[in-house]
């Protein structure tokens, strides 16, 4: 039979199942296939903190959402066009975000009475009318997978673990995604286990064939390639991009890369990624704790490395005393905080932007540190590269803020030409005759980086206050004032190098949205929608949170209303109000997920046309 093919601009689907069902992997492979098919994509991996939460329960549901389209994709999507539910809990946890008439693909093998009860259903949802508004497609994935490998003599638990490939193959058929990228990946992944490779590939193909022959869908869907800039692309997550940004900055500065880090969700993947790049001389040190993570990096920076440390909020708290040392000792260092929900241990696997105060203000003493934030997964590369550049150019620690959504989310990345990345200058000093630790660069006020091992430049540094002229320990009041002023001036001067702040939309007028970090995508998507409705608003997205851009005050004063949406309780809004004579409207959500486009759109509608 010939099925119809329905063209769509963009589609949002979610794979949901138990934490052990391989949903993250399935979603990642579907995303890669979509990217290779030429779509723009944005993803939202959403998984519990427990490695294997009780099977079949709502607490154990692991989801992976991907939005792909022929148009620019800014967010992982507000609502689902299709939901793949590997068990009743996966269905129940996500039904509220499925569009009316959306597609549900169910694994019937998991809809046994016990599983239905574990998900909190009193009766099987397939018979109680709750799914009537949707197109339900029932597939016994376990049975189909078993049939595909029946002659291989595999034990049943191995066969059971291939059912996610059945779902993936089926969804690839439904949305015309190529299987080759997944087959290549399986082949690499199970290179030494040929039997597993064959089983997974067979089941993947079986899922695809089942879509083709079983006539379970009314139509297939076609999403044409997006009109992306020409060039070579890859798919990249925020954590990968941070790691690559650091390696590139090391190569372009000529300083060996050192990472001191303690494992913490959701930052650990940066450590994993860099540990694999020893070929590039990268030294990764898995420290005994968060404090040793930053302190070892400070030691490596003292020795002349491009030193970085990676963490998340609770680890950042532990590092704060050492950050003061890096400020006082004037050593280049990049601290990456992949933010997650707080306070305390909080929501380890969920995203949030609530460490902005901590980054900007959270240290003893008057201890300014520049803070920059990435806005999308691939932007983490540029942000990290810039953070390394500032650290080296100004001889100071720099905090880079990303978050759980950026860290694990993926998008297509126009691969930069390594040869075109700017060289990063350093203050490494070689000439002993002209060396003095207090002889500052006239422009940046950076001190010379006199590396141990260089004859004739022996000197001492430390955390005690020092004399501005001699570098010796000094407790005098006027000198402390001068040194404090100097530390502030050194940070303030960074703002001179910023490009003029870009305003998307009108340069003055009614409503201005000021955003930072990962809310960029949601805000962009909402503004595009509002413009479609005839409401024009201005948008400034801040990369630099400290020091703030010098032209920001004037921009803010040109609008009647300033709206700041944040995944916190109003931290940037507070900083803006503390810095500029401006009243700020706030939109705050801390629900462990990125903003929905619709939430920001509603705020735009509410605040547009307001008089000051």
């Amino acid at each position: 039979m010939t099925q119809t093919v329905q063209p769509l601009e963009s589609v949002t689907i979610r794979f949901a199942g138990d934490s052990g069902d391989g949903m993250q992997l399935t979603g990642t492979q579907f995303t890669n296939a979509s990217a290779i098919a030429g779509n723009d994509v944005a993803t939202f991996p959403d998984y519990p903190a427990e490695i294997r939460a009780p099977a079949g329960t709502l607490a154990g549901v692991s989801g992976f959402q991907v939005n792909f389209g022929s148009v620019d994709i800014h967010t992982p999507g507000d609502e689902l066009d299709a939901l793949v539910a590997m068990n009743p809990a996966g269905l129940k946890a996500n039904l509220d975000i499925l569009k009316p008439n959306g597609v549900i693909v169910l694994n019937t093998a998991a809809f046994k009475a016990a599983n239905v009860a574990k998900a909190g259903y009193t009766e099987d949802p397939r018979g109680d009318g709750s799914l009537d508004a949707f197109q339900v497609v029932e597939v016994d994935m376990n049975k189909l997978a078993a049939a595909a490998v029946s002659d291989m003599g595999l034990n049943s638990s191995v066969v059971g673990r291939t059912k996610n490939m059945l779902a993936l193959g089926l969804m690839c058929w439904l949305y015309e995604r190529p299987l080759e990228p997944t087959i290549d990946w399986i082949t690499r992944k199970f290179a030494s286990k040929g039997e597993l490779a064959e089983a997974n590939i067979r089941v993947l193909k079986a899922g695809h064939s089942y879509g083709e022959t079983a006539e379970i869908f009314h139509s297939r869907f076609r999403v044409e390639p997006a009109k992306l800039s020409t060039g070579t692309y890859r798919s990249i997550t925020g954590n990968q991009a941070v790691a690559l940004g650091a390696v590139a900055a090391s190569a372009r500065s000529g300083r060996p890369l050192f990472l001191g880090s303690y494992p913490i969700t959701p930052a650990s993947d940066i450590l994993h990624e860099l540990a694999a790049h020893k070929r590039f001389g990268v030294v990764t040190f898995q420290a005994e704790d968060e404090i040793a993570g930053v302190c070892s990096s400070i030691g490596a920076a003292y020795g002349g490395s491009l030193a970085i440390t990676t963490t998340s909020g609770p680890g950042m708290a532990l590092k704060s005393e050492a950050l003061g040392l890096a400020v006082k000792a004037e050593l280049p260092l990049v601290i990456v905080n992949v933010q997650r929900g707080g306070p305390s241990t909080g929501l380890p696997t969920k995203t949030e932007q609530s460490d902005l105060f901590q980054a900007v203000l959270g240290r003893n003493g008057d201890t300014p540190i520049p803070v920059i934030a990435a806005r999308s997964p691939s932007d983490c590369f540029d942000a990290m590269y810039e953070a390394c550049g500032i650290a080296l150019e100004y001889m100071m620690p720099v905090i880079l803020l990303t978050d759980g959504y950026l860290a694990n989310g993926a998008e297509p990345w126009l691969i930069p030409n390594f040869g075109e990345l700017p060289q990063l200058a350093t203050h490494v000093w070689k000439d002993a005759d002209t060396f003095h630790q207090c002889k500052r660069d006239a422009d940046t006020l950076a001190r010379p980086w006199g590396l141990p091992g260089t004859p004739g430049m022996e000197h001492r540094i430390g955390g005690l206050e020092t004399d501005i002229e001699t570098g010796n320990v000094a407790y005098g009041g006027p000198n402390h004032q001068e040194m404090t002023d100097l530390r502030h001036e050194r940070v303030a001067r960074i703002a001179r190098s910023y490009a003029p702040t870009e305003i998307d939309g009108p340069g003055r007028g009614g409503l201005l949205i000021v955003s930072w970090g990962s809310t960029y995508g949601s805000v962009r998507a909402a503004i595009e929608s509002s413009r479609g409705d005839g409401i024009d608003v201005g948008h400034v997205h801040l990369r630099h949170l400290s020091p703030l851009p010098r032209d920001l005050g004037e921009i803010l004063s040109g609008f009647d209303t300033v709206l700041v949406p944040e995944m916190n309780m109003g931290q940037l809004a507070f900083l803006l109000q503390a810095t500029y004579p401006v009243r700020v409207k706030r939109l705050n959500r801390v629900e462990g997920r990125p903003f929905k486009r619709s939430e920001i759109l509603a705020a735009i509608r509410e605040h547009s046309g307001e008089e000051r």
Binding site: I36, G38, D184, W185, R188, P225, L228, T230, T232, Y233, R234, S235, I236, L244, V247, A248, P256, F258, G260, H277, K278, R279, F280, G281, V282, V283, F285, A287, E288, D289, I291, A292, C295, S296, I298, G299, A300, A301, Y302, G303, G304, S305, A307, A322, G324, L325, N417, F418, G419, P452, G453, P455, M457, E458, H459, R460, I461, G462, G463, V473
Partner: protein, 345 residues
């Protein structure tokens, strides 16, 4: 390299004295430690610029300011962690950690044990005065039970750490103990520590003349020291006493003080020191000896060879670089591109 060695051979103690006024209290044991290190370093054949001294916080941690070498006075307890980063990034340097019983064993205990566990090639000198000096006299993790201090007016109830026992429990490859008022012995021990390839942990029994004066008097005083110190010498039977008439022998698993000649006890009956024993059993046993039942062992308790962490890190990198081929712009481009790419035309 030979040129540098020749140059360093002309170094003297003066080359290691900085222009900073030393600000320890009069009579502090730290002066002696500073002086012995300044005497030993010129003799090691290491160019002066290769030395880096890293310290934490406390009286002892002011040490780097007084050394005319590279130096980094860091934050409380973290010297071992900072030094670990420095040495891992720069294995060519001779990195010394100066710490105290509070800095190294209390706030910095975690970093100390892990640095030792990794066998990173740091020279860790722990000044043990059994008191918090810089905060003006609270009990420390090495203070004895019953110690009266400002924070224990009714006497401390805490069991103290035994620094060398702790280091050995971390499987330290070099462990020694020396005394501030025994300059020649300290020089020998420091020289041995410097020459050791791997982590070297040296406890210096150090007198705080203001807050804990005489803490080691019962071991170090001239009148009692021959009776109370067991000078360890590799391969030699363990004898002590004014005329070497006493010794240590084992009864089952318990060491016993004996007098030679009494009850037919001969030198052959005594324990023989073996600092190079592959297992730390003997060293651990020695570490437990001390006042008042036993003489206190002084000298090298353990010195065994094992791959230093920093060298292993760089050997692994070199091995991978050798098999992966040269790193240039093409390799960097390959890294950025990853495995799966697609073109948009």
């Amino acid at each position: 390299m030979s040129g540098q060695v020749a140059e360093s051979a002309t170094l003297t103690k003066k080359d290691f004295v900085s222009d900073q006024e030393v600000r320890w209290c009069p009579g502090c044991g730290d002066y002696s430690i500073l002086s012995q290190i300044q005497k030993v370093l010129p003799e090691l054949g290491v160019p002066k610029e290769r030395y880096a001294f890293v310290s934490g916080i406390g009286c002892s941690s002011r040490f780097p300011y007084y050394m005319n070498t590279y130096g980094f006075h860091t934050i409380h307890g973290r010297a071992a962690a900072v030094a670990t980063g420095l040495k891992t990034a720069r294995p060519d340097l001779s990195v010394w950690v100066i710490t105290g019983d509070g800095d190294g064993l209390s706030i910095g205990g975690n970093h100390l044990i892990h640095a030792i566990r990794r066998n990173i090639d740091l020279k860790i000198v722990l000044f043990n005065n059994r008191i918090y000096g810089l905060t003006k006299g609270q009990f420390s993790p090495t203070s004895e039970v019953g110690k009266i201090t400002k924070s224990t007016p009714y006497g401390s109830i805490e069991e103290p750490f035994n620094p060398v026992f702790l280091a050995l429990a971390c499987n330290a490859t070099f462990v020694a103990r020396t005394i501030d008022r025994e300059p020649k012995h300290m020089q020998q021990v420091l020289r041995r520590a410097a020459e050791h390839k791997g982590v070297a942990f040296v406890e210096v029994l150090q007198n705080c003349s203001v807050f804990n004066d005489g803490a080691f008097e019962n071991i170090t005083d001239k009148k009692v020291k021959k009776e109370q110190q067991l000078l360890l010498e590799h391969g030699r039977p363990m004898r002590f006493g004014p005329g070497g008439e006493k010794g240590i022998r084992m009864r089952d698993l318990t060491p016993e003080v004996v007098t030679l000649g009494e009850g037919g006890i001969a030198e052959d009956d005594l324990l023989v020191h073996d600092e190079a024993a592959p297992e730390p059993t003997l060293a651990l046993l020695l570490a437990r000896l001390g006042f008042p039942v036993y003489p206190t062992p002084i000298g090298v308790l353990r010195a065994v060879d094992s791959m230093p962490y920093d060298r292993a890190v760089h050997e692994k990198i070199a091995e991978i670089q050798k098999s992966a081929g040269p790193v240039g712009d093409a390799a960097m481009q390959e890294l950025l591109s990853g495995r799966a790419t697609w073109d948009v035309e």
